[in-house]
Symmetry: C2
Subunit: 299 residues, 2 copies
């Protein structure tokens, strides 16, 4: 049984940052998340690609023992084109081709339905709901989203949030979804919706975890060179859930550790385009960075 | 001998935030910094006020055993009027009366000249330079600044930075002064100027300390209610230096602790207008919050 199960996009990205421009590179929330998760466990992807999707990209995922049985193949591939400006804080989408993603109906292979750890990465919330319905008895479900869905499908998104254990979103999205500039208030509103925990990603400023009566603050890694932030949030979520799946411990204490592993993978991911940095990553690199996260917090 | 010595403004503020509007309340960088420092040591202020400055404000500082011998009195008081909008991130200055601050020449009383710990809080960098020149043998000098001086007096500011031990500034100012969006690069540029350490204040996102080869990341406190952020950076610097003055230990390790005490005082300060929250603060409140800072970043 693949573990964790990861729903999201597998895409062809064209990305421009102050450090370069690359066309038709491997992207998509599920690609980043599954690759990051593969350092800890044997994830399976639920997604769709076009018949034009390069085999080499899928081979790269398969070589990391990522289960691809949940990837459908038809029509045209999902393509995203974006530009990051000077501050590298946010990408401006310059072009988008939905391709066969537009009427994608996620269908879990039998072996996926028993999945215990499930990451509903960034994708249409209606597709997230469809996956939730096919799960027999998940132990932990994590849902990520983005501004687009908050704006265009707030009802489906809220319905999905009410059915998961942990909500993951970035600071701007938390402010937008709960209509407050204060992240503590936003987190409290999320907890009122029934989730057990809320994780707010803040990019270079780290991440926050809010659970009932408890708060964890994970530092951002002091990166001198950010080449391409695409997929950092996905790598964060994938590594986090991979770590939980590996350890089988969903206590708040272990969730803190999982967040630090997520932060480590996200920080590596920003160091190069596409999955280039993660491709070269060793377990030793990860442990070394997690150790740095520890020492940079000590007082 | 007062310790630490704090140069900065003592002002009459008129502040509007989404939580209220208050006129002619006690403000100024030295007021906030000295009040915060007074929980740890017996600070002395170097500043100027007008003959119209309310005695009750000075009495409040004196009651906290803050030495006021370095405060000159003539002309009109420095007045600042600002409005914080919805996000509370930055104040828009709506009115400014410099008063006698315009030709203020800081003159250290004899007992101040031997000062060991010195906080050059936000004020004209030429005044900061004048104070540096009057110090006989300081043990640790900390310099804060703001966007206005980076823009209008970059040469004097850089000259002052080269003469101090630690540079304190917020993230926007660090990016502005060193012309890079990357805070790690900005910090490295600052270290190249000869300072021993750079502290970057990031408001709700905490604070960063960069020293040669080391990095410390202090979390932000998860405040649900921020009533007025005015003076938080000043309270941060004042408490930080007060803690160092109290402990007499300027090692990197102790600087980390000092930053957490600074963060604690800054977080309290945001909870009410002017010095209202700090006025009610007990040592027990401070220790409790520092303990929270510890637990919120354990993993």
């Amino acid at each position: 049984m693949p573990n964790p199960i990861i729903l999201g996009t597998v895409a062809l990205d064209s990305v421009e940052t102050p450090f370069g421009k690359h066309r038709n590179i491997l992207g998509g929330s599920a690609s980043y998340a599954a690759f990051a998760a593969s350092f800890f466990a044997k994830p399976g992807i639920v997604s769709i690609v076009g018949t034009d999707f390069p085999e080499e990209h899928l081979d790269l995922l398969a070589a990391k023992h990522i289960n691809l049985a949940g990837i459908q193949k038809r029509g045209a591939s999902f393509r995203w084109e974006g530009v990051y400006e000077y501050t590298m804080h946010e990408a401006n989408t310059t072009h988008l081709i939905l391709g066969s993603l537009i009427d994608f109906e996620p269908k879990l292979p039998l072996e996926y339905q028993q999945g215990k750890y499930v990451f509903l990465a960034n994708i249409d919330p209606e597709m997230q709901l469809q996956v939730i319905e096919q799960l027999v008895e998940p132990k932990l479900t994590l849902l990520d989203t983005r501004d687009l869905w908050i704006k265009t499908k707030p009802d489906a998104l809220k319905k999905a949030i009410r059915k998961v254990d942990i909500l993951l979103l970035n600071d701007a999205e938390a402010r937008q979804l709960f209509e407050t500039p204060n992240l503590v208030k936003a987190a409290q509103e999320a907890l009122k919706m029934g989730v057990q925990g809320v994780i707010i990603k803040k990019g270079e400023h780290g991440a926050l975890l809010f659970t009932e009566g408890k708060h964890f603050n994970a530092p951002g890694y002091p990166l001198e060179m950010i080449k391409d932030p695409t997929g950092c949030g996905d790598a964060f979520g994938g590594a986090l859930l991979g770590y939980l799946a590996k350890t089988g411990d969903i206590s708040e204490k272990n969730l803190r550790k999982a967040i630090v592993y997520g932060s480590a993978l996200a920080s590596f991911n920003a160091e190069d385009f596409s999955l280039e940095r993660m491709k070269k990553l060793t377990w030793n690199d990860i442990e070394k960075r997690v150790h740095e996260f520890r020492t940079m917090r000590e007082f």
